[in-house]
């Protein structure tokens, strides 16, 4: 069992991690992340990069849906804005990698704030429908907009370059993506220790009370949209560097639903939930693929893979909502509590 720690100073009480166990765990995690690419094969590193991208996107959506209580089915659409920004900057301007990602975030934040305007008048499910509109409107602009967007062909772009070194393979990109992801998760975790983050939570719990308490809803709802889209934009930029082809079809509506599912499966309104959800939703389809490849006794098993994946994707959402509405973060907490109380409560 774990004995709780007594805080002696304010600095201790306010610190991000309050026990040494947590610090050691975090160090172990980082060590694991450093060692991982040397042990795993190409395929698992590829997956790890994809997971990193999804964690950024999911954390962003969690800021909006989990913490501010505004539901959005447009995360992939805002990701596409980031991806296109990066592609255009790489092809036509050639600005450095980090600048491109930040620009992707900023542009996506702007677009997100525009589509967030309906959130000032409508709430909940009406808003979800308005963000679905973002998906279709942006898709139309990519295919029929100015030729710089590449039409239905999309855009092919050169690899990321940093210090005169090309990042092409997943093994190389891993070293860019994982620190970026860690940084953005850390930023999000800290956001909710600040005035802005607390305001978001107040709006989620009761928006009218929040307004009465002096939180301008207009400003903070748009800010939440912008922040969430900033994360989506950065994730989209990473996505563009990862696949290096950006087409209008890369970010379908179902991809937005994927992010929403990851937030729900992981646990709304917890940072850990965003991470767990993104990992879970990315890895499960791959595990299914493995499972199906072992089932050689069923003829044509691989041909049935895609519908089975679709079914499992839907079932995961439904089952989690019915049986574990707080998501994987709650499962995690329950497991931890079991070990904290271990000898006393069996």
């Amino acid at each position: 069992m774990r004995i709780s720690s007594a805080h002696e100073t304010y600095a201790q009480a306010e610190s991000f991690l309050d026990t040494n166990v947590q610090r050691v765990m975090l160090l172990l995690l980082f060590a694991g992340l450093v060692v991982f690419p040397f042990l795993a094969d190409q395929y698992w590193i590829y997956l790890a990069c994809l997971v990193a991208i999804h964690i950024v996107g999911t954390t962003g959506l969690n800021i909006l849906t989990g913490y501010t209580g505004l539901i959005s089915v447009g995360q992939a659409a805002f990701m596409s804005v980031g991806a296109y920004t990066v592609a255009i900057l790489e092809i036509h301007v050639g600005t450095p990698f980090i600048f491109n990602l930040i620009a992707a975030g900023v542009v996506a934040a702007g677009v997100g704030a525009i589509f967030g305007v309906p959130s000032l008048r409508v709430k909940g499910l009406y808003l979800a429908i308005a963000t679905i509109a973002a998906s279709f409107i942006l898709h139309f602009l990519y295919t029929n907009g100015p030729s710089i967007l590449g039409g239905t062909q999309g855009l092919s772009m050169p690899p990321a370059r940093l210090f005169g070194y090309d990042f092409v393979r997943p093994f190389q990109l891993y070293w860019l993506f994982v620190p970026l992801t860690a940084l953005s998760v850390f930023a999000a975790a800290n956001l909710f220790r600040t005035r802005i983050g607390r305001a978001f939570i107040a709006i989620r719990d009761r928006d009218i009370s929040a307004e009465v308490l002096g939180i301008p809803l207009l400003k903070y709802k748009l800010l939440s949209f912008a922040l969430s889209s900033f994360y989506a934009g950065v994730a989209g930029g990473m996505w563009a560097y990862f696949f290096r082809v950006v087409t209008p079809e890369s970010f379908p509506l179902i991809y937005s639903i994927f992010f929403l599912a990851a937030v729900i499966v992981g646990g709304m309104g917890t940072i850990l939930g965003g991470i767990l959800g993104a990992i879970f939703m990315t890895v499960i389809p791959e595990l299914l693929k493995l499972l199906v490849s072992y089932m050689t006794f069923i003829p044509d098993a691989t041909a049935q893979l895609s519908p089975i994946r679709t079914i499992v994707f839907g079932l995961l959402i439904v089952m989690f909502l019915l049986f574990e509405p707080q998501g994987l973060a709650e499962t995690w907490r329950r497991i931890r509590r079991f070990f904290h109380l271990w000898p006393f409560k069996k």
Partner: protein
């Protein structure tokens, strides 16, 4: 400007608008009774269309029997979904219930692909092929029949809601669940009935849409356009759905003809955004007043 052509386009728009309105009734019914936006309406419609396809081709049943069985099947589907997925979510946040229907739509798509494969199919042709003329304007016979059938069904629904006790119970439940319950209305039964009737409506429109444009696992996207019509009209207003459904149908037909097919969805969703900015709760929807 070719006026005759314009009229023909508007007429075909009204035809598909009637289908929007018929499917939209499913959304409105479910929302009125249970306050759920069912994103899976499009996919329920698709499953019913495939069910009809299976009955007429694999089992070779006559069309009239297949239609009846499909409508019954749609009702059962609606009832099962309500009991198994929506009832346990009673009292949860609207976001969660909404996501349950999103998950359901994914399950239905996967199920249809698993059973019938992902390729588009055509339904057996049972609609007349003789061209129809209204005045001088040509209307595709399929669309004319669909318009007629959809209007009849809608009229039937409206009559039922006005006259039948269950319809009155539904309206009472929509107005105030607690008050309705204390007047002796079996509110849980109203939930079930609204989903069953909505399932039947989707079955009807599934057969009609499938017979016009063929069926495929992705035909559920139709549900999104209908959802736009429902939101523009007001989520809890049957009259709103009828008006907005027809309007969206005509707008889509005009845009598709004069600007090109790729503009259809774009204009539909721009209409949605504009409508939301001006009248957030739809043309005829009740404005929600929050009490503290």
């Amino acid at each position: 400007m070719d006026w005759l052509f314009l009229i023909e386009v508007v007429l075909s728009g009204l035809g598909s608008g009637a289908l929007f309105a018929l499917t939209g009734i499913a959304f409105v019914l479910i929302y009125k009774a249970t306050k759920v936006i069912n994103l899976a309406v499009g996919e329920m419609l698709m499953l019913c269309a495939y069910f009809f396809f299976g009955l007429t081709t694999a089992l070779a049943l006559p069309v009239w029997l297949a239609i009846i069985l499909t409508v019954i099947g749609g009702g059962i589907l609606g009832g099962v979904v309500e009991r198994a997925l929506i009832r346990p979510m009673l009292g949860e946040s609207p976001i969660s219930v909404f996501m349950v229907t999103v998950g359901l739509s994914s399950v239905l798509i996967g199920f249809v692909e698993l059973v019938w494969g992902g390729d588009p199919r055509t339904l057996p042709n049972f609609l007349p092929t003789k061209p129809v003329f209204i005045g001088d304007a040509y209307v595709s016979p399929k669309i004319a029949v669909c318009f007629l059938v959809a209007s009849l069904l809608i009229a039937g629904f409206l009559l039922v809601f006005r006259k039948w006790r269950g319809g009155v119970a539904l309206r009472a439940t929509a107005a105030d669940q607690g008050a309705a319950f204390s007047c002796g209305i079996n509110v849980p039964a109203v939930f079930s009935i609204s989903w069953i009737v909505a399932g039947m409506a989707t079955a009807g429109s599934g057969i009609l849409i499938g017979s016009i444009g063929g069926i495929s696992p992705s035909m559920g996207v139709f549900g999104l356009t209908v959802l736009v019509a429902v939101i523009v009209g007001g989520l809890d207003s049957i009259a709103g759905v009828l008006v907005a459904g027809l309007a969206i149908g005509v707008i889509e037909a005009l845009v598709g003809t004069y600007l090109g097919g790729e503009f259809k969805l774009f204009v539909t969703f721009v209409t949605l955004i504009i409508a939301m900015m001006i009248r957030p709760y739809g043309l005829f929807g009740t404005i929600e007043i929050e009490r503290l």
